[in-house]
Subunit: 683 residues, 2 copies
């Protein structure tokens, strides 16, 4: 394909091949599930632990609230799943939360959701990588001993992979995700079998530890607050559920129905795994403390800073499979891998959302090019930097990072669901068919319940977690919001300035062109520029040379007449060896003499292949060009001369153009161009 | 002046005013002396100390060799002065060592001298600043306690001053230099008076210290080697002597004669000060050790690392004027100031030499613009970085840095003098007038002696100092030499590639122009681009739009026909929202169909005022342009639209253009343009 540069052939088969190359085939449900679910499913690796951890503040006795909290999380999960099933039906085009909020609630709500999502992508990377490192660390001690280093290293690795545009395939996602899901189910089943049927008593590594309750005998409001905090932490299990709603176009037909079914499958899996792990944690007496060094006691003594509190899933696996056993190691590795995959989804989502925001002029226009490598690169590097900074600041501690995480998720859940309610209201206003109306009323009820519930959770999260770190996430959202608003305002101002007036401006309508070819010496690029300029048949054509050295100028004039070049050569003197100023002054003078004349300046340019060669050429030309563009009534023409070394750069550029944009699998194929557009049309 | 944008007026009086503004008035000798002599005169602040320091290796008894070494330095100084008096007479245009070597010995010798000079400029900054900090530190303890910090801080300060283009005047140099010279002469006179007339016994702060000789009873070859090393160190007094030979055009008439006289004055002053300080140091029993912490003993004990060995000049001043007395402080301050001025001369010389090398294509072409701010900035920053790194590595220890210093100076001395011998030989071959011949033979004799002596010193310096640090300077020279050779080779290769063939290439001579105006939407910039393109009367004109969104494209087509724009609009489809690839493919297709047609692409561009606005605009256009320039047979025209905010940038650009290039005082006025060039000539 890369050798196929024949235009007609490309028009005939180019697109099809290209789509295929990108792996943009439609996804069956069995592949779509792992592609979209690595993020929400992986969160069961940390969410159960967070619940126990918060409860431990009130002592181990508070652990008996954990099933109730699990129930609340399950109810919330099904509420959110049910709500998003409405989204995918209403927006089969893959309108994500941003588009739903933007369309139904207006640009401010849309921008709020976008800011929340951008912050969320950063936190998905930070939390998933940190948790992945912790899970891997339960099997490989080296990793946990150099936690921050390993986490940042993983971020760097993922960044490089995404910058290079590693080719994706459904299998890449399917294998680790299914291994992980199978592992967790085997864990739950084997644990249940050993506990209930064999009657084994299984003990987690921390089963004989005690917890020093920071606050004992909590009751009334304080207890409720603690339970709400534990519930907020459990809500970490819901992150990533919304991803499918962006990816509907990637599904096989019937797209909406398949997406909705996949959503339900994912919710059921997540909930089962979440509850199973909580249940096993209770059965094996896992102890988790918020500050293990101080509050986790072994033989009455605090365990101290050297102690590593392994994730619940790994403690449970140690109890059920045996610490260090084959299955234990496999599950730890699969967990870490799924978490890294979850982080990788943010690498795809962040630049994609950026490109949507760029289309709406909240981000620089050039980002809107789909699959544009540079736009992707900028987004990826920004995401990786922000995540790495967070990981570094918080010492790759997933518990601390989770405090920041859930705010953004619930901001977008809530606004998206409110938007859906508006959506149904609007459609109900015009819909007459009673069957459809019934359907819509039902959907509206689900979304209303979803909006209320997620809104309530958002308030709970904000209240219980604000001082614990949620303010950082809010601050991040505000920064994104303000920046994007400013960019949009700038574009609006420019658009207003550029809008065409009704009456064309006749006052200084240009009537003639005066062409000037800049000449430093007579060589091929100059001759080409002269030849091209002559072809353009302007009203007046002259060559212009800046005299920085009288001897050189004399030689130039002599060669000019010797060659009989039929273009008059004008010499401008520049004792300071400046190039820019004399040309600008001359052009301004010409404009002043005849304001209706447009000046066209031809600059011969060398095209070189390597950046350091670029430093050696064209610098004066570039600077002159920069200044000329500020001068009204001037146009600047570059006449390139391709040096031999430019071949290398051409090859590089072609290679760059054939790069695979990451995230293609979950995005679905590009809209099929209609026949008219394909052929190119002429008015 | 900045408001004076009227072209005729500028042509009449602009240049004159501008020259005046730059302070480029001719220098009388009394101002020229301090302007050019701050570097060589300031070296008496460290050179005497270096002699004693080396001698101390053989114990205090070796100090009695110091007068002999002083004599050798004096002879060398007068030899060099006499030699350079020939240079300024032979090259009144201000040909420095580089040009003398280049013209007479060929480009390799020239490039060697240039590399040596570049290294030397870096070391002038590093040594002068370090020594200045040490001198200041003898009066202000804080400075010596934070030596490296203060030295790097001073470098940063000088760098910022030079980047901003602080306006220079002769007075700036004259006052500190004359205060310094007067202070040293007062010191010598008062010391002689007290010692010889009053019979006071004066004691330097280190007079009652002892020196632990590293090598006692040195004799024969070892002693000679040590004396040669001490002599090499004393040669530090000669650095900067060559500066006048670059600055002849800055002198009043008769330029050469005045420059030669100033050289002699400078040599006499330097030698007197050097010998006076050595004499006073002997009289006041100054002790200097190479490793004071270990080898300097007080009451039989090593003084340890906390001891600060003050410079000889400050110890002598303490003995003669009294430690901490008013005159002591004034002299310390003046010494430091003169040393900083000496460092500043390198800030002027480095970019100037760069611009000369750029003219000979050893450095990027754009540096050759005289007084170009960007070129200056690059040179200044490079110089400051290199000097700061050296200062940091060597802990701002002038003694260690001086080991690196003298190699480069003597490389250029020697090659320059050999070049002068060749110069006279060449002139003698054609000169018939016996009086002139006699004169030339005399000059040749002087230069021959100079070349032999400085060559001998170079060998001595290399042998005695190679392992002490001279290898670093040599390495620096090699790096400069190799880099500049590579740049020159690149330019030569390109020039060869671009050279016009005798026969014009008729095979694919372009015969028609096909113009394409890129259109994204209809607004003022687009309409302007269309209007300009129509003026150019190409053979075929069409507008081209890339369809990234079918709805937008439809709207564009509708508005196009509604407005009745009489240019056909072609739509290219781009499902991936790419801009570059479809345009490139289209242009390549056109070229393939009719290879003799040239494609002219018009790109409407926004001109904005702030760099962050630039990020929001033109990025796609820039990238497209970059790719189009690689496509043969294409020219690319930018049609700018100046947004309101671009006014700010225009003002900034104008302000930048009126910046004062540093070093103007010592460079003299620009060559006066002849009347013909001034008026601009047309062939």
């Amino acid at each position: 394909m890369s050798k196929l540069t024949d235009l007609p052939k490309r028009i005939l088969i180019g697109r099809a091949l290209r789509s295929d190359k990108l792996g943009e085939t439609l996804l069956p449900k069995r592949i779509a599930l792992p592609v979209f679910a690595s993020d929400p499913l992986s969160s069961v690796a940390y969410a159960p632990g967070e619940v126990l951890l918060v409860l431990s503040v009130a002592g181990v006795s508070a652990y008996h609230f954990s099933p109730w909290i699990a129930v609340a999380v399950v109810v919330l999960m099904f509420t959110v799943v049910a709500s998003y099933r409405q989204n995918v039906r209403a927006y089969p085009s893959g309108g994500g939360d941003y588009e739903v909020a933007n369309t139904n609630l207006g640009p401010k709500a849309g921008l709020t959701v976008a800011s929340a999502l951008l912050v969320d992508y950063v936190l998905t990377v930070a939390v998933s990588i940190s948790s992945g490192v912790e899970n891997l660390g339960s099997a490989v001690p080296f990793v946990i001993e150099h936690k921050t280093l390993c986490a940042v290293g993983t971020i760097v690795l993922l960044t490089l992979m995404n910058l290079r545009g590693v080719k994706e395939s459904g299998k890449l996602f399917a294998i680790p995700t299914y291994v992980f899901v199978a592992g967790v189910f085997l864990l739950i089943a084997w644990g249940a079998f050993r506990g209930l049927v064999l009657g084994d008593s299984m003990h987690a590594p921390t089963s004989d530890y005690e917890i020093h309750a920071e606050k004992t005998g909590l009751a009334g409001f304080a207890l409720i607050f603690l339970l709400l905090r534990a519930f907020s932490s459990g809500c970490a299990a819901l992150t990533g559920v919304e991803a499918i709603s962006n990816g509907v176009p990637a599904f096989r037909k019937p797209k909406s129905k398949n997406a909705a079914t996949t959503l339900l499958m994912m919710g059921t899996l997540a909930v089962t795994m979440f509850c199973g792990i909580i249940g096993l944690a209770m059965a094996t007496d896992v102890k988790m403390a918020e500050n293990p060094a101080k509050d986790l006691l072994h033989n009455g003594e605090p365990v101290g800073a050297a102690f590593t509190q392994d994730p619940v899933i790994s403690q449970v696996a140690a109890a059920v499979f045996g610490d260090g056993s084959f299955l234990f190691v496999v599950l730890a590795a699969a967990t870490a891998l799924v978490l890294f995959l979850a982080a990788n989804t943010a690498y795809n989502g962040f630049p994609l959302l950026g490109s949507i925001l760029a289309q709406d002029r909240y981000l620089p226009r050039q980002l809107h090019t789909r699959g544009d490598r540079l736009a992707f690169s900028n987004g990826i590097v920004l995401l990786a930097l922000a995540a790495a900074i967070l990981v570094y600041i918080y010492g790759a501690d997933s518990t601390k990072l989770i405090q920041l995480y859930i705010v953004g998720v619930f901001v977008s859940f809530t606004l998206s669901q409110i938007g859906m309610v508006r959506h149904w209201n609007r459609h109900l206003a015009s819909e007459k068919d009673p069957a459809k109306r019934r359907h819509m009323i039902r959907s509206r009820a689900i979304n209303t319940f979803g909006a209320s519930f997620t809104g309530l959770v958002l308030v709970v999260v904000l209240v219980t977690k604000f001082t614990h770190g949620a303010w950082v996430a809010l601050l991040g959202m505000v920064i994104f919001y303000v920046t994007m608003s400013a960019i949009r305002r700038h574009y609006d101002r420019v658009a207003e300035e550029l809008a065409t007036d009704e009456e064309p401006e006749d006052s200084a309508r240009p009537s003639r062109v005066h062409s000037i070819v800049l000449v430093s010496k007579i060589h091929k690029p100059t001759l080409r520029a002269l030849a091209y300029a002559k072809l353009m048949r302007s009203d007046r054509l002259e060559a212009l040379s800046i005299s920085v050295d009288p001897a050189e100028t004399k030689a130039l004039q002599a060669e000019w007449s010797e060659r009989g070049i039929d273009v008059p050569l004008k010499i401008l003197d520049s004792p300071y060896r400046e190039i820019t100023r004399p040309v600008i002054d001359y052009v301004k003078g010409l404009r002043r003499e005849s304001p209706r004349e447009v000046i066209s300046v031809y600059i011969p340019e060398y095209v070189v292949g390597r950046w350091y060669e670029q430093l050696l050429h064209n610098q004066s030309a570039l600077r002159l060009k920069g200044r000329l563009l500020f001068t009204p009534g001037v146009m600047v023409t570059s006449v390139p001369w391709q040096l031999d070394s430019s071949e290398a750069a051409k090859l590089r550029a072609r290679k760059r153009a054939e790069w695979n944009p990451p995230g293609a699998v979950r995005r679905g194929p590009a809209p099929r161009p209609s026949r008219r557009e394909k052929a190119g049309s002429e008015k």
